[in-house]
Symmetry: C2
Subunit: 256 residues, 2 copies
Amino acid sequence: MGFSFLILMLTIATAVASPIKDQILLLMPHSGSAGHKQSDLNCLSWRLAVETDNLKEWYQIPESCRDYVKNYMLGNQYREDCDLVTAEAYKYAKGLNLTGDGKDIWVFDIDDTALSNIPFYASEDFAFGAKPYNSTLFNEWLEEAAAPAIPGSLQLYEQLIGLGFKIVFLTGTREAYTESRIKNLKEAGYIEWEKLILKGDNYTGNAVDYKSSSRKELEEGGYRIRGNVGDQWSDLTGSNLGDRTFKLPDPMYYVG
Amino acid sequence: MGFSFLILMLTIATAVASPIKDQILLLMPHSGSAGHKQSDLNCLSWRLAVETDNLKEWYQIPESCRDYVKNYMLGNQYREDCDLVTAEAYKYAKGLNLTGDGKDIWVFDIDDTALSNIPFYASEDFAFGAKPYNSTLFNEWLEEAAAPAIPGSLQLYEQLIGLGFKIVFLTGTREAYTESRIKNLKEAGYIEWEKLILKGDNYTGNAVDYKSSSRKELEEGGYRIRGNVGDQWSDLTGSNLGDRTFKLPDPMYYVG
């Protein structure tokens, strides 16, 4: 366990105990510790381009933006960005008329939508891109079933159930991990659902096709997708998207 | 001409002469002049939700974010956000194979895509939402034909022509303003195009339908829409979107 890991853990501990003020972290993108410009890439512009789907197939955080992404994810701004989206989703959901036949559903992605993988992406195993993504290590993290809920998403989930929606979790996680996903969802507070859809262990299509065909099956089964929330554009593009989609922020990784 | 207008003009003059550093303006959303929090609305979160199409049918800038939007639009960050998007569009365009038959087109929206309406939205007539939008005044601004080019968009336009693309301008401006639009485009540096499509003076459909049907006609005419750039999601949703879309930032107004 090296020195940098200790620093990282201290940073996380500090962030949890007393979240970094976004006013401070927003000063950081352009500046190194001595205040000099680190790179020509404006990390705010990069993040905006990621969130608006202008950048596609980016498979790592640019080196000059790793500190920026770390501070964003561990600070207040990420949480407030999520909260505004989920509050808007609730405002929209409240205005809908439900038929009461139990077929009005809301689709939730799991990773970095219902549950947060920040503990993995912040850990020494990835360190916000300082080490390459390693699926073996990520799968170990999945098996731990230790991901916390994203607070705004859990609140939205509870509000939607209160309004009478049925919840469908639709995840790219392979079916081999079904038990750990169920354990994790329940321990994080997602205690009930209409369906939990995982990806077949041998499925080879891409994320957009997998999610589109899963939603198509839901609609063919008589369900009405009234809302759909995810952190990746591949959750929110393709077919059978539902009446309205909501994009949560995620500058940590790209799923195409 | 009141005191606040003078201040605004001084702000614009200062911004043009020496753009406000985004590091400074990013400190502003939460703080009034005495450093106190003005509102619970996080203006960065609001802007992100606008840009990701999570907020729909917002027809005015929230009062507590007007200063924030003003500083964003007049500062470096807006320009850099545009530059990153148009640079990405060029990177994508460079990788395409053109057939050479003159049917590979790129669709540009005009308002706040090819041309900037910042001088209008910053002026006393609107003052970034401090006064309500007034279509009569906006139409007078259109007739002036004085909108400058957005620098990244003009550069992209020139690069695309260099690569062999034909340009189609597709705007929600009514046909009654055809002459002033032509004058404005040419004076801003957009000297040639394959087509300039304006909205019929009696058309009553919404923006998504108007733009979708216009793009459909283009495709039925044998054109291939290889790229499509706009500042509103109504430019980039609906049908016949083209092979790839690019969203420029615009927190000034919403076109549904």
